[in-house]
Symmetry: C2
Subunit: 207 residues, 2 copies
DNA sequence: TATTTATTTAATAGACTTATTAATACAACG
DNA sequence: CGTTGTATTAATAAGTCTATTAAATAAATA
């Protein structure tokens, strides 16, 4: 496990902990186990991170940010047509999920463990999506008025987009097992559902 | 907690355990805590159910069955048009989720804890969906050929349906918190998304 | 080199967990 | 009434988990 010649212990612990927390969640991962995988003494975990909670929150906060900032940083889209923009947003979001397939489950599981955490995190996300929403809404209304998109509320559209993208990744551990998918097949499914989701949404928006 | 004058202890334990497992998951619920909520001695849990694992699996299996049988028992639909049938399936599924909003999270969380469990459960679900799928596929193909539905694979349609229905309930704990929804508002959202999902899907299927 | 500082370990306290066992209360029944 | 079987409890073994402390080692610095 530890051919981490050059890497600092502190960093190695963080990485191992991240992997284990993502795999098995907070409750099912012990500092003892992290230490064993790192190949160090268990006290060292506490030396660097004081408490298990703290270690977890360091990781969690980082993942949370990665994730939500990834969703909202949709600048430099400029003046492309609305539906193209939508396609781009769906695909970016899907790509983000593909790169971080286990973050959603982590967030959903652990936020119900410590719901207060949400308020702390809400503040730290000053990347206010309001602006983005407002602009998208303006464009959507314009498309509807011009008869290029059927009548639909932005919030409903966004929930549907989010649902279609997110669900596959949340269900993946079960799907994988149930259908006995190997890595290749899993990859094919993921790639396929990306285009499928875009098509499904755009087709639904036709006037 | 226990004005369970007439109910047997064995049953009370099961019900309290069910509630706690659904609320907080397997790892975060101790037999000590279950006993405390039931108002009995902790040894009694083990007297009736031997191990915590066993108690959990009794509950889990039952929920798993409730859930998947609920999905697949779509008899007596008879000769109604394909799109009506689809609407009915989506709505039934959504109603099932509304009645059991926490089961999906339970299944997703705990199946990754003990993946072997899936094989056991797979066998017990002899309600083979193959027949249903075959029939649905026949009807879908017919609709496509007759130009009443755009070209789409059944499996993709089903995944999209499942995703749209499931995602809201899985995200609900976070959504609820993030938007500070009270029970009423939550109910409104859930009701609204039911019709929205049906519309979103049917609109997408237009040729 | 000597001394301070940072890293790492061994040992362990203290809390909690699951599970078992033996003892007790309670019921039914002959 | 006394006996038998079930339901329930108290006590506790054995293990794990987090966190702390003091000692040992390694690194840095003067």
């Amino acid at each position: 496990m530890d051919i981490n010649n050059e890497q600092s212990m502190e960093q190695t612990i963080l990485e191992v902990a991240e992997r284990l927390f993502l795999e098995k969640g907070f409750a099912m991962t012990s500092t003892t186990e992290i230490a064993k995988e790192v190949g160090c003494n268990q006290a060292l975990i506490h030396y660097y991170y004081r408490t298990k909670d703290n270690l977890f929150n360091v990781i969690f906060e980082q993942k949370f940010k990665t994730f939500f900032q990834g969703i909202f940083e949709l600048q430099n889209l400029g003046e492309i047509p609305f539906l193209d923009k939508l396609k781009y947003i769906i695909e970016s979001h899907y790509d983000l999920l593909t790169k971080n397939p286990k973050i959603p489950s982590l967030i959903l599981n652990e936020l119900s463990r410590q719901p207060e955490q949400l308020n702390t995190l809400k503040d730290k996300l000053h990347t206010l999506p309001e602006q983005l929403f407002a602009e998208l809404n303006r464009e959507l209304q314009s498309e509807i008025e011009n008869g290029r998109v059927r009548n639909i509320a932005l919030v409903d559209l966004l929930i549907s987009m989010l649902s279609l993208n997110l669900a596959l990744f949340i269900m993946m551990p079960v799907v994988e097992n149930l259908l006995s998918l190997n890595e290749t097949q899993k990859g094919i499914l993921i790639t396929h559902r990306k285009t499928e989701n875009v098509e499904f949404i755009l087709k639904s928006l036709r006037p």
